[in-house]
Subunit: 330 residues, 4 copies
């Protein structure tokens, strides 16, 4: 929230001129209050487009004020090109939901390497709603996937759910993924941050953009090299997709940080046919990349089978993303 | 919901083969039930990808069944190319939120005509949250906008909120818009349908895809020539945008109908900076067009000033949409 | 939003004293801004507990300001005891979802009369998601139910969905119900208001308290004798109940108006077993009554069969409500 | 989901009789499918009211089937009266949001003891959205609060957010609280469960009842003595309260378990004036207790000041709860 306080002798024309200038500059909403000759203008500027001090110099204005933000790291941290992968300027991450067998991981990583992808995903610790579901292969799986990634010259991105697993995981991954259920697991964010690794931070299922920034601030404050935000769909009343992909919420975040914001269309869509539409939409909207679940044999996948993209479909998607980037001359 | 009932002597291998085949075909979810030697498989197929009768012929299956749907018009109606506008294959609609002055309408429509747009929007009856807010110019405004549209060879799209206004409106518009607050105003849908006009049907703020289809069925059953669905953002907990643009929900609808589905990024975004990202995302996802609020002087707009796109920005957007279409070779 | 502007020479102690006093008085949130020696305090007071002008007299404060509200009728209208029914101080309304047969209506109204209820509900015009579903008996049904109600000395409450039906309906009902899908059907609200009748205003499925107030303001401005607000559950991600009964949201509304606010546990719950818990909770929270769906033979009900309360269960519920009122000595 | 499969020669009357019997028994929804002479009936029974095998004996039915559930502990675990506190049959927990000073904790616990409360709450580890906010006093605070509780013969309930803190915490608390942000922190649930302590499990901000049950199953499977579920408001679009208290969702859970389900009206309401209404509603609905934030000097509370109940208000609330229990003769 930002505000302009007018002098007691400010004219109505001066007040209107300031209001019009603020609207032109992109204010989302303006509220006026008056009493005893004083006029106050409250300015909502969620896009961060307005340098309120500039408006403080307009005729009739006594002073411009704004509430200070707490999340300085997210606001000031610089982006880094080193996380480009697959397509210049974009962070593209792909791979299976879970680590299953050596054959599965090899088949998928081999293809990702030939697609020019640099980052691959594959989960060893799976947070499952029921304790009676398969919880993933754990450390052994992580080591195996990490070795196969190295063989293909790839960097592994993998989720950690327990702060006590961070120490082991950082020896095998190039980027720590914080899942949607862990976005406000502050002990985990701190431990991941302390490792100095880059953190792929999925948005909590019902987290506001503000809370998402707060979570990133936890990781950055603890020492994370960078945070890559990942929009993966929020929980709403709609059930025709698994979650609701909030691309404009992610773009609203981009207006507040230079850090990368990418999208995960797989978990949002929940089914194969909508993954490419979601990925293409994310790139066209202006996000910095995508993370996609792929599988060499989706029908046999142990988890998320319905949303895994076959390898050939992924190749087509990559070509379309390249074309869109070209079309938008970004 | 679809189902497969297995013979009492079906083998476990036969059951597993059917399940695998269904997953490969795109089933969103499968539930198995057994009792007294009988096995039943319930198949969720929200994308409508599965012809269950085909699976009824697999070994071990006794019979395939499915629940019948009530919304036949939406499922069977054909798309029509006559609603293309601006860019081949797309329905592009643009114009001011509300009809204000002759000068305003002329300035905006003139530019739309020169952009090659065929459909323009402009509201005469404004549904406002408070009765003390300006409710729009009504009939006089509609007549005026309609004449200016005709002068520029444009077709007017405008919202009607009262069933008693349909008779007047259809003499002045080429397409009746049903707004988000009216999506389940069945008396209005019926009246609009009876006119035989095409109906631009905005999604209700908290309407499921299923309810949206039901609303279209009301208009089609009453006689509407066609329905163009318009996703305009749903209501969620997130406040960084005015509404949450549900592009994948709109794509899920497209899997169930040949009718057009377009997006309104202006009302979803609620602010200028996110309108183009939303429009480009919609086109890249595969939707059939967009409706965008534009204004020759946004800061002076009487309603929705913060989200109106200046005319030059709209021209840039049109060019980018053309490029994306080309890039995706659709 | 309310605000306090401090003098340039206000001390830190004076600012803190004001902040503490505002918290004690019930401020929901306080934001401080400072610049060039000026301090501004923004006060969120959603409960309307704070008379900000009182705080304008505190040492160090130059002026207190607040944004003006548009919805004056809702804020100032008086409550009226004439809508008590069944239990003193409460508005209790009960009856079947839809008007089916004379025998059905008689059986139910007879029992309601013997329970001491004064208002009965029964729907003639049913807003249905699909046009192929039964739409209710219309005018004939309304006349029939109205006559039976009169025979038992009862007042009929019934929903109208088309503004053109208001004229007919007001001859047969004592209170016009505006359903959840019509809460922002402003043409209908206006027509209902013009009749001068009391309006039972259901909350829109995704309407904020603010929008609900705006809808009531439409009816009151048009001439409605009074508005009785009815919370009937909002749409959320949770599916274990049909909707989510927002009792505290309804209580938040009560803090802003003297008009009655009641609850409809039947549509929120969506199943019989949770109707009484919802009704008792509403009364214990402090709401002004309930509207409940009852049926003499729920399994045969043509609509909402799963949530209709058998008549004997309703009698038990009435006794418990009486006991709770006594227990809370309200 | 449950289902009835009919014989090929079942009559229409037999099918209708079964459907009617299921509706009468409380089925939430029934879907019929037919093909090649076979009829299948799918029965939604979210309240768990239907023993489908009983219906398998009806004429015309070949077999009744149902999908098996994974969460056996929650379904079968017994309730225990030992967690009664304050009022017979209810679990009442009260105390400050955070542990601040010895004087603060003593003042509040002393009063709770004199109110007959047995369980007190007070937080040592505070999960905060921003890393720059105060994170609580940690271990020292927990020891201090634990000693003061013991002095007054009280049992301490306190939140743990890091699995590595469980070992320390269990030496000082009688019940481990898992907060809303940690509901799906499975590493933490497992560690808490292993301690054998009872677990107070807050519902995640956007957790379905199903996921809430899954989380409890994690703790019970790991060894928790019992789980006390705590509804604390879910995240919705409504902002007039901090969260939306979902009392009927909590009651829907009670239909599926004998374990205790209580409510936290303080975090749902977010402001003092709505805490008692929420608590009374919870008890009247039939929940097993409440947890309430109280403070001897709310205006000075370091966190959640706006929602802390003054001690005298808490006494009034306790009396009203006693009266309601009496009134409902539960």
């Amino acid at each position: 929230m930002k505000s302009l306080l007018f002098h007691t002798d400010a004219t109505d024309l001066q007040v209107k001129a300031a209001q019009r200038a603020l609207m032109t500059a992109g204010a989302a909403n303006i509220t006026r209050m008056s009493s005893a000759g004083r006029t106050l203008m409250l300015v909502e500027d969620s896009a961060g487009l307005i340098d309120i001090q500039e408006f403080g110099k307009m005729p009739g204005v006594e002073v411009a004020m704004e509430a200070s933000s707490k999340n300085g790291h997210v606001a000031t941290a610089e982006n880094s090109p080193i996380y480009d992968s697959g397509i210049e300027g974009l962070t593209i991450i792909a791979g299976p939901c879970g680590i299953e067998t050596e054959e599965q991981v090899s088949a998928i990583f081999a293809r990702m390497a030939s697609e020019g992808i640099r980052y691959v995903r594959a989960g060893a610790y799976k947070p499952r709603t029921s304790p009676h579901d398969y919880q993933g292969p754990g450390e052994g799986g992580l080591e195996m996937a990490s070795e196969i990634a190295r063989d293909y010259g790839l960097q592994l991105v993998s989720e950690v759910v327990d702060p006590r697993d961070v120490e082991f995981a950082v020896q095998h991954v190039a980027m720590i993924q914080i899942g949607t259920r862990s976005m406000q697991n502050f002990a985990l964010l701190k431990e991941a941050g302390r490792s100095g690794m880059p953190v792929l931070l999925k948005r909590g299922m019902s987290a506001t953009v503000e809370e998402w920034i707060g979570a990133a601030e936890h990781a950055l404050t603890a020492g994370a090299e960078t945070v890559i935000f990942c929009e993966r769909g929020i929980r709403t009343f709609e059930t025709s997709t698994r979650n609701t992909l909030d691309l404009l919420g992610a773009m609203a975040l981009k207006e507040r940080t230079r850090l990368r914001v990418i999208a995960d269309p797989s978990h949002a869509a929940g089914r194969r046919s909508l993954v490419a539409p979601g990925a293409l939409a994310a790139i066209a909207a202006g996000l910095d990349g995508v993370i996609v679940e792929v599988h060499h044999d989706p029908a046999s996948a142990r988890s998320d089978a319905a949303q895994a993209l076959p390898l050939d479909d992924f190749s087509v998607l990559m070509e379309k993303i390249r074309n869109i980037r070209e079309a938008l001359r970004i």
